[in-house]
Symmetry: C2
Subunit: 448 residues, 2 copies
């Protein structure tokens, strides 16, 4: 019997755990699910005879060692910064590890150790990063096999709300870790355009969007996602003059979100005190440039002027809808960072309702030269969830990890070291099985 240890039982683990339990009999697996909330882990495991839920505190070295030592494979969906602790235990006790998170430099530095121990650390095998890597590598392989020369790669993903469940002027609801959305983009985005590196600091990220149309779906805006230059080597496209990874939002979102960036409301370091005495209107006031004592304009009017938009503009509509200009409601209790205050407000306003369907949109556009012609291969994925529990994001993050676990435990993969899923022996079986779960791309080839 093979023992799988799943660490973290939150939203991101739902489909992962289901898949592993559903296939446990067939492949002779036993699944232990550890979470800081034993209740959450127990809910996910149910009374399955091949699973158990346990209390797991990643910061407790003894507990970590106990469970890692007693399994064949770890799948960690813990917050990203904890993977390194688990990975080091995996080395110690000779176990493979799979995570959906970006591979940090500290994790990458374990490559030689994982190789020497004949073990695999597979990171970035969720949706984005994950399915995006796999589907782009497959597209490029096919283009190259036909003799095509890749000229530009653009890849965008959005974890969005399906149109039928879209009930607010932001056209957005939280389908995934809300704090990641609030803090998205802090730092400097990097990508390649026409042979030139491009650097975009946070203060301009949500201004420099581009518009893309996705067939059968609609028009979206994209902002650059972190460091695309980092992937030139892994994707083997060092000679390709244009490469960008980006995040998709419905039109208008970025301009409105940029109001928070410009105000400074996404700061997660300073603490605002005495929230029980503060209204949202006061909060906006405190981040607006101060005004003359005799200024009789409302905070809403001053904000519109600050943003250089009309009081009836779409941006102001979105901000008003959040209740930011209501005078009564207090922000909270005690102290919190601006980002946390924003998070708590949005968690209420953008909450996914039980019957809401989320929607994943992924769009790859690859320009290439073939037989002297400029061609474009567009590949798009549109996948909707069932409801607030069975979401498309949970499936698309969880299934690649679950399939990877199966490939490893069935000895169909003999890879060692620290990797992302960019090799055919991983992405081909993964993408093939994902199709059974509705992860099917719409492909389009055009001569430009």
């Amino acid at each position: 019997m093979k023992k799988i240890l799943v660490l973290g039982a939150g939203k991101s683990a739902t489909t992962l755990i289901s898949y592993l339990l559903e296939h446990a009999q067939q492949f002779d697996w036993y699944v232990t699910v550890g979470d800081y909330s034993l209740e959450t882990a127990t809910q996910k495991v149910g009374n399955h005879e091949r699973g158990k839920a346990v209390f797991f505190d990643v910061k407790d070295a003894e507990i970590r060692a106990k469970y890692v030592a007693d399994c064949d494979l770890v799948v960690s969906v813990l917050p990203a910064n904890f993977h390194i602790l688990v990975a080091k235990d995996c080395l110690k006790y000779k176990k493979h590890i799979i995570t959906p998170s970006y591979i940090s430099p500290e994790q990458k530095a374990l490559d030689a150790d994982f190789k020497a121990a004949n073990l695999l650390f597979m990171g970035e095998i969720g949706l984005d990063p994950g399915i995006d890597h796999m589907s782009i590598m497959k597209m490029m392989k096919e283009i190259r096999q036909e003799g095509g020369q890749v000229q530009a790669v653009r890849s965008f993903t959005g974890a969005l709300i399906a149109p039928e469940s879209d009930t607010n002027p932001w056209h957005y609801k939280f389908t995934w870790a809300p704090m990641n959305v609030v803090l998205a983009g802090q730092g400097t985005a990097q990508y390649l355009k026409n042979g030139h590196p491009q650097y975009v600091p946070y203060n301009r990220l949500f201004e420099l969007t581009e518009t893309y149309h996705v067939d059968d779906c609609g028009t979206f805006e994209a902002y650059a996602n972190r460091d695309s230059l980092h992937y030139l080597d892994a994707y083997q496209i060092e000679d390709v003059p244009t490469f960008i990874r980006g995040t998709l939002r419905y039109k208008g979102y970025c301009e409105a979100w940029n109001a928070f960036v410009r105000l400074g409301l996404t700061d997660n370091n300073i603490k605002i005190l005495n929230l029980e005495h503060l209204t949202y209107n006061d909060l906006i006031d405190a981040f607006l440039p101060s005004t003359q004592k005799n200024d009789t304009r409302s905070v809403k009017e001053r904000l519109a002027e600050f943003l250089d938009v009309g009081i009836e503009s779409d941006v102001m509509d979105r901000l008003s809808w959040l209740g930011l200009f209501e005078l009564g409601a207090k922000v909270g209790k005690g102290a919190a960072t601006p980002a946390k205050i924003l998070h708590d407000l949005l968690a209420k306003k953008w909450e996914l309702q039980p019957d809401d369907k989320d929607m994943i949109v992924m769009l790859h556009i690859i320009d290439y030269l073939e037989d002297g012609e400029e061609k474009r291969h567009t590949s798009s994925l549109i996948l909707k969830g069932e409801n607030a529990e069975e979401t498309a994001i949970s499936s698309t993050v969880g299934l690649p990890m679950a399939i990877m676990a199966k490939l490893l435990l069935n000895n169909e993969i003999s890879l060692t070291g620290v990797h992302m899923p960019i090799m055919p022996e991983v992405y081909e079986p993964c993408l093939k099985e994902l199709e059974k779960y509705g992860v099917t791309f719409l492909e389009k080839q055009e001569v430009c």
Copy 2:
């Protein structure tokens, strides 16, 4: 004989070490100066019979323990994040410690331990923070003794270049830690205005400046310095509606510096690669919004448009003077962060020449009510250095620490715990002795 251990022998330690050695015979002191560069420490100690230079690596616990255990008092001018290591050894071996740096929450948390051990951790006793705290507390004490009620406190400091040594269009040279200047203001500044907290994110900090005139000196612009709200409690001014601490620059500096902030060139996290192939012109290009392939404008022209200033404007003059638009010169070698690239360029352009004089400008403006009248007490300090070695900044950072050391070793202070110099028993003797070294404030009282 009392033994003093000075940690760090760089620019910030020059005057400190001189003072301690000069008074060593009189007070029966022995001064050990530790630095990672034994050469630097040796230069500062010379062949003084009551001093010695030693190699000191703060990260080496054994070396730390050895020297801390063998002294009566530690004065640390190491980089601020290292003080905590030394402070914990001070607790272990029962020694006092003095630093010029901002007291971190982690340091403040040692307050009870220092009290229990009957020891003093005096932080923020340099220039700013340091002399500013002391002189404001003295002003407020005098105002309150006369029955005045403080209404507004504004306090600004600039470490600047003296007019006679001002030879560039930025009217600025590095007289102190250059990287601190490059990274200044990252985060969110906080202060109090007319009873309302004001928060200013980095992306607007250098836009929201105010202009102040300093008698006998000139006109300066000020931007908010970090978290002023944090000091309301320490200064006992919780009921005062306006309080701001700020940094002074000559007029025009902030608008030009903001070009770097908007471009994103002050980022210290991402790495730019292949610097041997990159000109400064390329670098600016990479941070500018990308343009059409057929755009024939120069980078300088595009930057002027991006900044919404004329090509002949003061801002563009300053940027041009740095050589940013020259096509030949390469940025460097290997990889570096944008902030490091900027640092290395500015270190050359803004280098203090051997005979240059630096200048400290400090300005306090306290508004108060007395006998029903609105009054203003303005206090200003203008202090020039001798040359690039004997700077005003080195004196004003080092002397308060040196005097504090003397007060402690002579048992004139019996304070314990973690403190900044806001108590009369500290600031009165300190300010009095500082006057002998030219730290004299020009005082002005007006009825508004």
